[in-house]
Amino acid sequence: MKFKAMTAIAALLLSVPAMSLADPDEDQLVLNGEMESVTETAAPAHLSDVLDTIYSGWRFRENETQALQMDDFDNPGMIFADLGLDQWNAVEGEEGKSCASCHDDVTESMKGVRAVYPKWNEAAGEVRTLAMQINDCRETNMQAEPYKYNSTQMTNMEALISVQSRGMPVNVAIDGPVQATWEAGKEMYYTRFGQLELSCANCHEDNYGNMIRADHLSQGQINGFPTYRLKNAKLNQTHDRFRGCIRDTRGHTFDVGSPEFVALELYVASRGNGLSVEGPSVRN
């Protein structure tokens, strides 16, 4: 009996690959058995000094969590995209319009949109996140109340729009008019915050693949946002995640939708240029 147990333990040890347990695994993300997603690719040129390869956070998760994202029925985030579709078709505001009044079929009109945001808005002369653009549309074209930046409704709408770009590579522009904002975001990424004096880079660039308490540190890519997190059973926005990260450094954090977070979102999104859009993804 004892011998048997020993053999079992030995077999277990042998089955563990030589690489560190926490490194990104070799699994490949195929959605619904048909749509292949890029979860690993060469780092964009602006990261050539610091990273060779970029990985989606999906690669750092357990098999069970990964499986949830591979099937739209099992993916709890898709519930919220469905709710977003109801909002898409709902007439609101004084103009008597819904999103569909101008943009028609979301599967056509919003294809590829998630992949290029945040981006420059020429008329407004500012960098806009998807949420800012949605609210501008509501206020200007629908004469409707804007959504609160990180409200459930806004997140649902973002999820719906993200779904239309799934599988397409993130392709955020970093030059031209957005360059100043991008530089500000980069500066922030490498700035240490809080009592613990941690920058984004300390964890997500220097230590991805290592453990942070009981969790695997990913590269902090945002190609999967909005993200369904098992810990709070709802969709989470990029800015809420940023806020959580800065809070964990024991620092004063910025507001969702603040210029600081817009700049940081642009920079972090550009670090994932080349990965597939996954939103709504499933993480722990």
Binding site: F73, I79, F80, D82, L83, T152, A233
Partner: protein, 109 residues
């Protein structure tokens, strides 16, 4: 009707006679347990789905009594033997008296 409730069902559109098929159901629902309190300290009233049933051509396949400890957006996966062509009827019963239904037809291949 509680807010944001949407039933979803995944069932095959056809099956061989006598085949056991996998059925997956999920309903978005807050499943408020009644145990929590709001910021003022007053209890948040219980609001859950308390029963889920599935019938095939009027014959019961599964009948589940649900309790407050069940988490948000309850998901059920189970198997059913399909003896003949017919309709699968899924029903969820809300605490507030609402009943949500979904029907999927299964053909014999």
């Amino acid at each position: 009707m509680a807010e944001g409730v949407k039933p979803r069902v995944k069932a095959p559109s056809s099956a061989a006679a006598g085949e056991a098929v996998v059925l997956k159901t999920l309903i978005s629902h807050q499943m408020e347990s009644g145990q929590r309190k709001n910021a003022d300290g007053t209890p948040i009233p219980r609001s859950i789905i308390n029963r889920f049933t599935c019938e095939f051509n009027g014959k019961s396949v599964i009948d589940v009594k649900m309790e407050p400890a069940i988490s948000t957006n309850p998901y059920f996966e189970f198997e059913a033997v399909i003896p003949e062509a017919g309709d699968l009827k899924f029903t969820w019963y809300d605490d507030d008296g609402d009943v949500y239904e979904d029907v999927k037809s299964v053909a014999i291949a």
